[in-house]
């Protein structure tokens, strides 16, 4: 497997694009399925090093897993199918903008900076205060500024919180399966609140299958998936 340093990519689509380009593949479903495992491996690195970015990476993981899952469990219905065709398009579109940004970088490097005038300043300053402004109003505004700054400080914190809740979900499912010998996977899926949780549940399932901790079986198309402890 190729090594990509985590510092060398910016975001999940950039990572995915790099994986595909390294393998010299075109962007299509087959190649996306092909690099899915590598992508998922990187997610673990990110979880350790940049937990605040984890949530973004999981969203793309969703789509990759859906594509990948087709080969593993052809009839699995997570109710997310509309997304999978889009990943291919989304990545192609992202590549367009990456290429365009290289063009823009080239333009900037020509240093054709232009300037506007900032003439009528300072030396002809005439004191002209806003008539109705009072010192009380100033303090009110400063209180407002403080409360608008607060959420910015919390941004990374919020992202980490979201990623942690995802991690907890994985642990939860793993415990659930370890405790019982048989688990109806669809029930786990139905209990989830949003798409990200569904994905995480499915990620956990794949992980368990890969490590040969469980086996998954499905009697007929669209039937429940039953997980058995091995």
């Amino acid at each position: 497997m190729y090594k990509i340093r985590t510092e060398s990519f910016e975001g999940p689509l950039h990572l995915l694009l790099q994986l595909i380009e390294q393998e010299k593949l075109d962007i299509n479903e087959v190649s996306l399925a092909q690099v899915a495992d590598q992508y998922l491996a990187y997610i673990k690195q990110i979880e350790e090093k940049n937990p605040e970015e984890m949530a973004d990476f999981l969203i793309i993981a969703t789509k990759l897993i859906l594509i990948k899952s087709k080969s593993l469990l052809p009839n699995l219905d997570l109710g997310l199918e509309e997304d999978e065709a889009l990943l291919e398009e989304q990545l192609k579109m992202y590549r367009e903008f990456v290429l365009a940004s290289e063009n823009i970088q080239n333009i900037i490097e020509q240093k054709n900076f232009t300037f506007s005038r900032n003439k009528y300043i300072v030396n002809d300053a005439v004191f002209s205060p806003p008539v109705r402004l009072t010192k009380e109003r100033l303090s009110e505004i400063f209180y407002e500024i403080i409360s608008s700054v607060k959420p910015i400080l919390k941004l990374p914190e919020k992202a980490i919180k979201r990623a942690i809740s995802i991690k907890e979900k994985i642990d939860f499912i793993q415990k659930l399966i370890k405790r019982r010998s048989v688990l109806i996977f669809n029930k786990v899926i139905n209990d989830t609140k949003n798409k990200t949780e569904k994905v995480v549940s499915f990620l956990a399932l794949l992980e368990l299958m890969k490590n040969r901790l469980v086996s998954a079986s499905q009697n007929k198309i669209f039937d429940n998936i039953t997980l058995k402890k091995l």
Partner: protein
């Protein structure tokens, strides 16, 4: 009063971009008249190809020094612009330039990452601005690139009107 002359004076004197509304208000002329003259002036300056140019974006106009003379003017103003941008900044700017006005969720849909911080940094540099929910590039961005209009960007038409992008952007976001 000669409207064209008035508009040219206002363009010259202002230290910030002026909108069609501004011109209309100060000249006391109708917006459509003003816009017509502004477009005429833009063309005149483009044809002249001299040391002064007019740039525009989203109905705002500004007069600037020609990109051909950036080195001399930078020296004259002791300006230290270097043009460095991080990769996320560059990607975000590109996306806004080609697809703006664009909302934060749309932008995140294209880039696949949360863009709060990068948007904040670009706003601090004055390269983008927001109105309501929408993010736009500023005339300072055009000045930074030395172009008159975003339409001069390579493949502008193709990327700005791409149908697939439109479809993807109209998808509900997965971001909970």
């Amino acid at each position: 009063m000669n409207l064209k002359s008035v508009i040219e004076s206002l363009l010259f004197i202002s230290d910030h971009p002026l909108s069609i509304n501004d011109f209309s208000e100060f000249s006391d002329c109708k917006k459509n008249e003003v816009e017509k003259i502004l477009e005429e002036l833009c063309e005149n300056y483009q044809d002249r190809d001299g040391g002064i140019e007019i740039i525009k974006h989203q109905k705002k106009y500004q007069m600037i020094s020609s990109p051909n003379n950036s080195e001399v003017i930078q020296k004259f103003l002791k300006d230290e612009t270097t043009g460095e941008l991080t990769r996320p900044q560059l990607e975000t700017l590109t996306t806004i330039a080609y697809r703006g006005p664009i909302t934060k969720p749309e932008l995140e849909q294209i880039r696949g990452v949360n863009c709060s911080l990068v948007l904040r940094n670009l706003m601090m540099r004055g390269l983008i601005e927001n109105t309501d929910q929408d993010f736009l590039i500023t005339l300072d961005f055009l000045k930074f690139l030395g172009i008159r209009d975003v339409k001069e960007l390579p493949d502008y038409k193709k990327l700005s009107s791409n149908k697939i992008i439109g479809e993807i952007l109209s998808e509900p976001t997965i971001n909970n």
